[in-house]
Symmetry: C2
Subunit: 230 residues, 2 copies
Amino acid sequence: MAMTLYELLGADDRRFSPFCWRARLALAHKGFDADRVGVRFCDKELIAFSGQTLVPVLVDGETVVSDSWNIACYLEDTYPDRPALFGGDAAKPLAHFINTWADYTQRTTLTTLIVFDIFNHIEKIDWEYFRSHREQRFGMALEDVQKNRDRDVAVFREALQPLRTVLESRPYIAGEAPTYPDYILLGTFLFARTMSPFKLLKEDDPVYAWRARMLGLFDGMATKAIGYPC
Amino acid sequence: MAMTLYELLGADDRRFSPFCWRARLALAHKGFDADRVGVRFCDKELIAFSGQTLVPVLVDGETVVSDSWNIACYLEDTYPDRPALFGGDAAKPLAHFINTWADYTQRTTLTTLIVFDIFNHIEKIDWEYFRSHREQRFGMALEDVQKNRDRDVAVFREALQPLRTVLESRPYIAGEAPTYPDYILLGTFLFARTMSPFKLLKEDDPVYAWRARMLGLFDGMATKAIGYPC
């Protein structure tokens, strides 16, 4: 039976949630091609069946799983004969650490660079919710949060140092092939790419080359999604 | 044959390098009790045999290994029958990511809180080197770097969020027992504890309880070292 993935939906069919990208990439790694249902911020009733209000939500037959980390663990545990996402029990908790680090870095150093671009690429019906929620978080008008981004992007680039260092000695975070930590971080970049033309990386950054490799995975799945060139 | 670990040495026999602590904890995990040689900043000739200028340096028979990460990998590869530091090939590169994250967090958010305390606990012969080197890095007098630490400590605590999140669901980073990522992070806290009385953590922080568990390891080895109570 086909699986269904509920994803955050912006204007023009933009699927921009970094967490939904993580789930979609995990599904692709396992060889699944789920049906996809777009959910705007105002469409929470579409996922009421999951007992909570956040996407991604994965439906696999009778099973409903929400939260990208839970979805990755569910896929790994339920389909152990398909390509491993984590590469073993010892690696999984460390991937969880990286998951949390990515959330923190995204929230504190990336969203400030693109939040008004995000606003401009969601549907009007979501504008009031998004603006009031994010302006409360940042304590200023959305237009002002990203106005110094040409300067502030240095903080984001510096915060990527752990990723950069490991990529200096291998092509993917865990070695010769992508695993879930790579999808976690790619989700961050796809979130940006889907909604903002702002250049996050310098071309001589090892993270830039890694991102290019990642964008080519799964027959270029990510590059075919609606968004800006990186 | 006994191993020898060359460690950074402050005044009053304080062994304060976070990187040397990582090596010492890795040795303890593997069940080794190395001889220890203190090296002040001005004592670089003591480790000239290693072909570089930084501690830790481990000497194991004919083998000389420098750099804490290299030492951990050397111990794991050379003594596979002793307790595993990483728990498998898939976990090791992710531990390397955490190693780099810890370096970055320490450099950007912790050292600023305690750098003048460090100066006050190294021997006078190292003062000129330390002050000129660190004042160049921070662009101000050592006395001024940490003067707003009651406010700046919030940035350090917030940067620990990835550690905090994983510790909310398990006692150690990788699960039920300490592994090398725990020693990496404990090294950061021992660096501070050895040189500064400043309180880094709130008592209701899961990181606080984890640190207390870690301090009790190896028959309280870390708490017996010269330093301040946490």
